[in-house]
């Protein structure tokens, strides 16, 4: 789990999350207005993992 790898998959994973949330919104289960914080959470998790990754000497 190098920072480079995390960085590389961050974009796609965020995109998938966004797509899933908007799909759920379109099918009328839960509105995107309610689920958008999930994006922040996912982004935060990535940042955390990157931090713990950089502590190790590269």
């Amino acid at each position: 789990m190098t920072p480079g790898f995390l960085c590389a998959i961050r974009g796609p994973v965020m995109l998938i999350t966004l797509g899933v949330l908007l799909s759920i919104h379109n099918f009328g289960t839960v509105s995107f207005a309610r689920t958008w914080p999930v994006l922040l959470i996912v982004f935060g998790i990535f940042k955390l993992m990157e931090r713990s990754g950089t502590r190790m000497p590269q």
């Binding site: 190098t2 920072p3 480079g4 790898f5 960085c7 590389a8 998959i9 961050r10 974009g11 796609p12 994973v13 965020m14 995109l15 998938i16 999350t17 966004l18 797509g19 899933v20 949330l21 908007l22 799909s23 919104h25 379109n26 009328g28 839960v30 509105s31 995107f32 207005a33 309610r34 689920t35 958008w36 914080p37």
Partner: protein, 480 residues
Amino acid sequence: MNRTSIVAPLLLIGVGVLFLARNLYPDLALIDYFARYWPVLLILWGVLRLAEVLFWAATDKGLPPSGISGMSGGEWILIFLLCMIGLSVHTIRGFETWWPHSGITMGGIDMFGESFEYPLAGEKAASKTPRVIIESFRGNARITGSDTTTVKVTGHKSIRSLEQSGADRANQDSPFEITGEGNELTIRTNQDHISGKQRITDDMEITVPKGATIEAHGRLGDFDVSDVTGNVEIVSDNAGVRLQNIGGEVKVDLRKSDIIRAVGVKGPVDLKGHGADVELQDIDGQVTIAGTYSGVIQFRNISKPLRFNGQQTDLNIERLPGQVRMALGDFTATNLVGPVRLNTRSRDVHISDFTNALEVSVERGDVELRPGKLPLARMDVHVNFGDVELKLPSAAKFDLTATTNRGETYTDFGAPLRSDNTGKGGGIRGSDGGPVITLQTERGKMSVLKATSDDKPFTPEVEAPPTAATPVKPLQKVEQ
């Protein structure tokens, strides 16, 4: 190793396929599909990029340098544009307003709100032929005429709210009422009195005097109207409409609908707006339809002129003792009283048993005609791209000119028809003094054949024919 993403070419292919589909099936509701499923594109895009990154990592070709995300800035801009287009289409197509009325819920607790139910009832005396107005509301209504002189409403109200007290308050703030008297009654749900987070739906069973005239407005929900001798007018943002046994005039204007069905209407029928399926049967008045309908359109037994004015297809029929069915890229009709005029962009056309005169103009598609009865109708058929086939009874009298500018000709009719070929195209000509028949295709095969006993009239396959009795089903709840 070349790191160019495969997403861009795939995107190109996808757009190409979409446009091709649109060209081949112009009536396909692609916009509707896009409005509904566009977030799936985001997911696919993400999955593809993720797969690429994993593939690079696995093949040890090295990762992109640290600090560079798996996606380029240009891609994010494209995604942003896609989101904007998707959201606006989704909103315009009227699926719902995208931004909630209540604003963004920061805590995210609201989604745990429950639905609270309250009974709904009202009754008011009316004249024998009252005008009943239903003010705009969310929910379903079933309106039935009967031998009474009262307007009676029963049903229930559903309120979505966080807690009982909020729902109770909303219930009190949106009292159900029937106002007016005698000749004009208004049914009001007062849903607009509630602002904020509660969402209200009223489902109503309404009994009205037989002679009533109905004027209903809705935002979301179905209307079932039966056994009313007055006029019926329905205006809604999104509704399924089922009408049965209506004595007066019918007017339906919808922004979106899954089905419009009318069976047994004495007066004229007038449809407007957007929708999917349309089914009209046993209509004694003139039928006028102007709108975009993407589903299966069926007409049966219409005793006055029918005027259909769609996005891709115009159709005029003087009288329809038989039936017409239009579905994806197909037009099938049998037993029409002319003059009949059909003008369509892209459909295969099959028509049998028609009288007086037939005028068909098709941009792309094959035309197959089987006039079963004699004397023949006058025919004028023009096709830009497609085959034309005419099957004539052997005793028919006609004055026929059939030409193709590019393609073969074929006839097995015998005298008086002769076929001649000139360069790339050809013609079939012959006359024994009957009505004028002109068939023309710019590019395609031209055949004039002798009808055999195997050639039956086209019978459009019928999907779920409307039955005489209204199916008794409980009112469905409108989704929150």
